[in-house]
Symmetry: C2
Subunit: 308 residues, 2 copies
């Protein structure tokens, strides 16, 4: 099993849904990515930044799961990144109520020596120049570099984004982001445009409508598991990315066929994350539960047909 390095936020989230609201709970892309990846593989390390107000019992959640937090820097004069959001009744839309960037404004990721040769690098949503700075610190080129980004960086840091896209292997974004990045409504045409920007592979996440994996002319589709209730969608996309990269690290294989498995695995883990607030379900999730739900995905999607 290969080593994974993930770079992203470790933060406070405060979430309001029709089912209730949380206080400040553990959030951030690197939290979901690392916990999901760790379900699949052994060595997972985080690079992130926190403030003086970050509780030790939140850090303990990573330590308890044997996730390497030696790359999490604590800034004593800053507060932790904080996001507060409220979901609409159908849970498909949300409004951001508060974003306090805090310590993240001073984030200069330093790759620990032990991770400069990581085989898998997962760059969570951050300024593209910061994402590039992590790539530049790797002493050996990772087998696979995956990157997430968002509309905000397309609006404010286009040139930096174009630079980092040339240096990665797979971009993992949602449908709205793919449309903005490509300036094309058709996701199939968007995928061609985006692959021409650099990444040879592209995953377009469509939330409850599943995810598409593109590579040249090959397309694979993984549905989201149809659920009776979605309790809190926060972190589903990052869980998907973590499960995806974790499965590839477990398989030590980055072929298109391995990526099919990895997409299903990401969708599987994401289906758990939405069952409870924040990282709660991911924290309690066991391997037998994952395996059992994988059977649901097989029943949901696999068929035998005669070509007549």
């Amino acid at each position: 099993m290969s080593k994974i390095l993930t770079v992203g936020t470790v933060a406070f989230d405060e979430i309001m849904t029709p089912f209730g609201e949380t206080g400040k709970i553990l959030g951030g892309s690197a939290s979901y990515i690392s916990m999901a990846a760790k379900k699949m593989t052994e060595q997972v390390g985080i690079i992130s930044v926190i403030g003086h107000d970050f509780p030790s019992d939140f850090l303990q959640k990573f330590i308890d799961r044997d996730i390497d937090i030696s790359g999490i820097e604590k800034l004593d004069n800053e507060k932790t990144f904080y996001w507060k959001g409220k979901y609409h009744n159908d849970l498909n839309k949300r409004d951001t109520l508060v974003t306090e960037v805090n310590c993240l404004a001073h984030f200069k990721p330093v790759v620990p020596d032990a991770y400069k040769d990581a085989e898998f690098l997962m760059l969570g949503n951050l300024h593209p120049a910061i994402q590039q700075s992590v790539i530049d610190q790797m002493t050996t080129r990772p087998k696979l570099i995956a990157l997430d980004t968002m509309n905000f960086w397309m609006d404010t840091a286009w040139d930096d984004l174009m630079t980092v896209l040339k240096n990665i292997d797979i971009l993992i974004i949602n449908d709205e982001e793919a449309r903005q990045l490509s300036k094309d409504y058709s996701l199939v045409r968007a995928a061609k445009t985006i692959q021409a920007m650099g990444p040879k592979y592209l995953i377009i996440k469509k939330g409850e409508h599943g995810a598409l994996l593109f590579h040249g002319k090959n397309i694979f589709f993984a549905p989201a598991l149809p659920l009776e209730d979605v309790f809190d969608p926060t972190g589903a996309g990052d869980t998907f990315a973590g499960g995806f990269i974790g499965k590839l690290a477990q398989l030590e294989d980055i072929s298109f066929n391995a990526m099919k498995n990895a997409v299903i695995c990401g969708s599987n883990l994401a289906s758990f994350t939405v069952e409870e607030f924040g990282t709660k379900r991911l924290e309690s999730l066991t391997k037998p539960e994952i395996k059992e739900r994988l059977q649901d995905f097989i029943h949901l999607t696999q068929f035998e047909i005669e070509l007549v």
Copy 2:
């Protein structure tokens, strides 16, 4: 191969999309259903009604394809049902500009003797009491009765709809209709509620996001084929239904596994219909083209995974 009887509209459509507009072309649920079903199986008959203004070359399209139109009644004092609609730029929404019910107001379906023993009955979207009147005329209970309906009948003919739902096997509707019928946003819960109304099977069509097949606790999902361009979505849902029922008639099998195949087949045919205006693509579609695209569906959805 089993006999299929389909009941629905044979009509004029006039369609405006960002790519152009048609004059009055052949439309109507029974047109799409029968043409799609006929790609899969041999004996397909239509029950419908047309007016004096319906051109003989439109009827000839059915005759050329060996679709039995002995059940299409012509009303000499009425005009043909006419619908005009305009699609928005993303083709996901449309506005109805004109609906002229015309001859459809006088539609009293009469099942020809040769179809009173049809094994498969596909009831296109019509007043539920009219749909029920067709069921009542069958001398032997069909192996499978499938039904489409719409929000309008839920608003205006609820009791009649509840009656006919008790007498069918499978309901084929879209997500919005499923939510209105069940009064539930969650499609998984909606499926339970709707199955309790009568149909043991339920298909929920999600347009470009594919279709879900429900039966008790079993769920199967067929994606829509990701396409570079959708030219005209009109008739995609009816094509899906026709392909679905046509495949079951071909297989002479109504097991859940056969229905998986049939859902994929419906999705396959629908992916062609949206490539040109109206029934045009369906008219020219060949069996080798269908078979080739079925391979695309297999590549899109099938994977091999180890349960570890």
